[in-house]
Subunit: 325 residues, 2 copies
Amino acid sequence: MATIVDVAKSAGVSKSTVSRFISGKGYVAKDVQKKIEKAIEELAYVPNEVARSLTQKKSKLIGLLLPDISNPYFPMLAKGVEEYFYEVGYQVILGNVKSNNEIEESYIESFSMQNVAGIITANSENENSKLKTFNNPVVMTDRAYKESEYGVVSDDFMGGKLSAQEILKTHPKKILVVKGPKGLNSLEERFNGMVQVLEGKIAFDVYQSHSFDFGEVEQDAKIIFEQFKETDSMICPSDIHAIALLHEALKRNFSVPEDIQIIGYDDIPMSKFLYPALSTIRQPAYKIGMEAAKLLHALIDKRPVTEKKIMLPVTYIERETTRRK
Amino acid sequence: MATIVDVAKSAGVSKSTVSRFISGKGYVAKDVQKKIEKAIEELAYVPNEVARSLTQKKSKLIGLLLPDISNPYFPMLAKGVEEYFYEVGYQVILGNVKSNNEIEESYIESFSMQNVAGIITANSENENSKLKTFNNPVVMTDRAYKESEYGVVSDDFMGGKLSAQEILKTHPKKILVVKGPKGLNSLEERFNGMVQVLEGKIAFDVYQSHSFDFGEVEQDAKIIFEQFKETDSMICPSDIHAIALLHEALKRNFSVPEDIQIIGYDDIPMSKFLYPALSTIRQPAYKIGMEAAKLLHALIDKRPVTEKKIMLPVTYIERETTRRK
């Protein structure tokens, strides 16, 4: 690959002239500019990003921390982040944190060493997180939002309310609210929204799930069908939970939605392909990623930011796992 | 964040002594070493990776090119790559190429500018790809393999054969082979394997699909059910195709597998949660990512590589969308 020295030789000028031309700092005569441009084009010269990063203490890299990339919700969010930053000339380093604080710390340290220009995290909040001492801007999204200065999420409280309201309209006999893993702010909000709608209106059971992992959620589904035999309506904290419950219901020869109705959360790409197709609350994962990237980009460029925290609306997607009203 | 100057001050030594200590080049007295170590720990000093990258022309970064991160197969592969490199102190830059040559080129250019130590690509082969002129090692996987020097895939030809063999055992009346998008080597191999088993034994139709996109594959499924009314057995190039066909079959009130049987390819995490659960050929996506990372790491470290091309076995996962033999 061509170096700055090759460009200088080919253009018949000194290395420092080429350097002045590239950095845009200092005078370079018009005709010399043309010679250098021609040499750059002919040699397909790419100025070294690493050298730029070293002098400016800020690279063209973004760090993205995700709790679990095998959960189909997060690739959509990552896609939004990646597509925005691609357009503005940044690359995204992927950090799959697996909800492990040690891995998170280690990634933040690596990001510092790479002079990463900013971080977007969807990882859950962590009291002692090194993010708090990270020098460049940080935007929180999804599971991390409450304590942050800058963030983009969807309206989890409203989403929780919405799913409970939709179930209430269908004259449920006995409701089970499946609560997602503890300590995640977004899930607490959803649960609070659900409870606010249901309380005082109808009795309901609560089951505490501890995972988003397919295998573990499959076990939850088995326990739920053994334990809550009266339930005819299930409100879920994610589509993964809803899909596992739907599978278990059909395996046990229940009709869905006649015997058991199920409402999910997220609207992952697969949900509409289930049979019956899943009724769910749609979070705009791609848009959340895109907006978080846009906000982070403004912070990196030190442009004025009017909305430090952005909350995007959620919508109810009625499909076939809920009864008609 | 602490700098090398802070460390030097705190340890009461010169900056160049700290620098010698960190690089391991040159003599530093034992008691001075201890002082520096203590200062580094107290100040939580992180040596700048960018400076290291500049002198060595090789960063601790890996480039990963994927065709589409919203296809659930690829996050599993990415997870394998990321988890391997996390353990050995590298970070992975995500390039979601969207099967677009221009985006691929642009990413490869950016990777060069970042002094990326190596690239793993699952993107389809591209005659004029800039990968061929990339200075550091490249490992191809999944869709890109045939033309490459180093690669990790699963045995697509055997997978194709396996899916056709399993369908043949169930006494199919009329088979439809759904062929995946053209120009992807892995899909050609699968198709060739299927055809080799079926030809001369039974008549079969072929439908050419042009996408892995959920929306477009949904359209394919509608066309297929209109066009191939005799078909009772469908062999698919991916689980996405199989899921769309399963959904369409159930919507049209066919019994699966009694009226229509369907076999997928990949075994994405969702497949076992469908109802009926999907019979499919399992590709070890996570392991492919892991092995590709291991191979690339050996190349980066210039360790001897005995197997330049690794082909991992596939397995048939019998679930509920195929008839019992």
